[in-house]
Symmetry: C2
Subunit: 429 residues, 2 copies
């Protein structure tokens, strides 16, 4: 006898619908309305809507502090992670759609310069903070701390620039191009450093050949996606026009986005890099004939998907914040130093922009670390060297503080910088 | 040392994005385009598009038969189950939006009659098949076989009627109303029978009080959702109009759908019953002022969500089919008998419709068992009586055959019945 009372039988019925389904339904119901209302309050206060969504997440993730239930387990469920990740992917796809490879190449040189400055400076500063705060540790640990400061979380910045209606300005293109290059550089740096630490822990060293393979995969993906995708996609869409079914073009476009996100993962990059590349490659001109035939333009199809998935991403990002970690005095000094290094390291980018582009705005736009920083810190906490984790508990809390501070500060800072200079509205790309 | 080679490090990075993310991305990319193309081929052959999506699922789920990879594990992942279930929920929400509680009450009496006939007859026939094929077993096992034949899978029928543009006809309303009542009756019957079997296995009997609680919960949900929801929702939408943010009304509507789906689960019903009730309660008139202000009507917002999620549901339903189980000769006789009982049991509904409504069409519309039948069979396979499963391997294979046959036969049968009589187009509700 393995199954008895009727109430458990009813649970078995619901279990047949997937154990996560009840939690996801309840979670989506609250996230959708909660994020919308919090976003409205934030906008009413003059802040970008995304700040409200992040703070709703922080509140949900820390309910235990006020005697509420612990909901962090729901945020860690596979189904929620997937929905959130789809949100980030669709957001970057939409952002990519607003530009073409030509637009990005037009800002290619300044974006690359900004990206390199924005990776190297935080790495050097982070390395220095590591030397000061953890003097007895090997250099590889300090380098890992530096690497944690490298990558820009393009999701936050893209969303804020979108909320401000400024995605097509030159400054926005430089920020987005540089942020994507940062993501690529950051992931490559992370892969190389964890490789070096792994080899050191095993008593060997990482060969240049292995480093070259990591770099080559990332470069091959980007070049392949932009060149091959740019060549194939107009032909594919022309073929799809010949076929009758409505919605085929939308299905193919979404599939293309998901496929490139998958291939980016295979190349060791973040899926959002692939989604952004997919958006860049697809152009409105491919859809003109379809739209004339009465089909919806792609951006109209995307809006409801974005409205459903993206709040899940930002709320979940807020939920990852453990407010208590900021209260530890031994952590606070480290955390403040690391945060200052993270902010200064990106603000230096202001010096790397060409004449006529608001440098402060670009520097502030590069600031948020978001989920990329949290992922880096998490990997460091699992990575062992001499029997201890590369990122110890104190460093981890400091890293979380740095991520939270840079992420939460970016939306209001960008809004302030825009208002102050009228920079974005005055200067169309 | 727990982590060494750089290639594994790269996997760790992707792992930070959720272990299921790569599979979901690749799966969605193929499901979206595959379902669309297969649907187009089906329509080109004169069959409903959903048949193409189901068959794509059957093909994906049985690739091993032609030496391909075993992809059934992907379909069983939590993230895919959630995406598929969201598809079924959004589909039934959309179907519910096309009607109002008034419309449904107008067909309430015939729908209830059709539902009761469509539950009692298959139960009696299924019980008889059990007596013939498993003569030595206790009556509870035969009753369980009968219960497996009771519930109608409203998803398939709703989709086919939608593809035919016939959701607003009187016949369609009777079918949908009866199918929802069937879902409720079926789940209540299942809960009662598993309760009886559980009690018998424990050496006791199920009290009438416990049966009454199961029934009361289901009735309370339906009445509460329709009465309370119908009272609250226009007031809620009037409030939301006063608030500024665009998209709030869409967020509230989706949240309402997810919340009622969740509450249906709590009441021991399927989430799609809640989604259908949410759609019934929401009416276009609540949105009129919002649409005048320039916001999108709700059904336009839903379309892209449906285009993304619903194919996942139908493809996954096809993937659950194991083609090999049909090849077992000892199973085939049982399977054919059970299928005949399932089809006859619902076709009898034709006699219960009021004058002027095409009875054959209603009977055929009640035929598909879909995922509900598979869930019932799965629960029976886990339920133990006298140390053996209530649904043994042979009965399970026969049940799967019955589900597949009724599900795959419904789309072409409905299309044929509609063309033959011109019944749906000639008779607007």
């Amino acid at each position: 006898m393995t199954l008895a009372p009727p109430s458990f039988t009813l649970l078995a019925v619901t279990g047949g619908h997937g154990g996560a389904v009840p939690e996801v339904l309840l979670g989506l119901a609250f996230v959708l309305v909660g994020a919308k209302l919090a976003g409205a309050v934030a906008e009413w206060l003059g802040a970008p809507a995304v700040l409200g969504e992040l703070l709703v997440g922080v509140a949900i993730g820390n309910l235990t502090l006020v005697g509420g239930p612990d909901l962090t387990g729901i945020g860690a469920r596979e189904a929620f992670i997937v929905l959130a990740e789809l949100g980030a992917i669709l957001l970057l796809f939409q952002v990519g759609l607003e530009s073409t490879p030509r637009d990005m190449l037009a800002v290619g040189r300044p974006a690359f310069l900004v990206a390199v400055v924005g990776v190297v400076t935080p790495m050097v500063l982070g390395f220095g903070v590591g030397r000061v705060m953890r003097p007895g540790e090997p250099w590889m640990l300090h380098a890992f701390l530096g690497a944690m400061l490298a990558a820009t979380s393009v999701g936050i910045t893209a969303r804020v620039l979108g909320d401000l209606g400024a995605l097509k300005t030159r400054a926005a293109r430089i920020i987005l191009g540089a942020a994507v290059i940062d993501d690529v550089l950051g992931l490559v740096v992370l892969a190389v450093i964890t490789g070096i630490i792994g080899a050191a822990a095993a008593g060997t060293t990482l060969g240049m050949g292995e480093v070259a393979i990591i770099v080559a995969k990332a470069v091959a993906f980007l070049v392949g996606a932009l060149v091959l995708g740019g060549f194939l996609s107009p032909r594919l869409f022309r073929q799809s026009y010949a076929l009758k079914p409505g919605g085929l073009i939308q299905a193919i476009s979404l599939s293309f986005c998901f496929l490139l996100s998958y291939l980016a993962l295979l190349a060791g990059l973040a899926p959002i890099v692939g989604a952004f590349a997919a958006g860049l490659v697809l152009e409105d001109v491919h859809f003109e004939k379809h739209v004339k035939r009465g089909e919806r333009p792609l951006h109209e199809t995307l809006e409801p998907l974005i409205a459903l998935f993206v709040p899940v991403f930002f709320v979940r990002m807020g939920m990852l914040v453990d407010v208590r970690s900021f209260a530890r005095p031994d952590v606070l000094g480290f955390a403040v130093l690391l945060t200052v290094a993270a902010i200064l390291g990106k603000l230096v980018c202001a010096a790397a922009v060409p004449r006529g582009v608001p440098g402060l705005l670009v520097g502030l736009g590069m600031m948020p670390r978001g989920e990329v920083g949290l992922i880096f810190a998490g990997i460091g906490a699992q990575l062992m060297l001499d029997g201890r984790p590369v990122v110890d508990a104190g460093s981890y809390a400091a890293a979380v503080f740095m991520v939270v501070a840079t992420t939460l500060a970016t939306p209001p800072a960008l809004a302030w910088a825009t208002r102050r200079k009228g920079a974005l509205s005055a200067e169309p790309g």
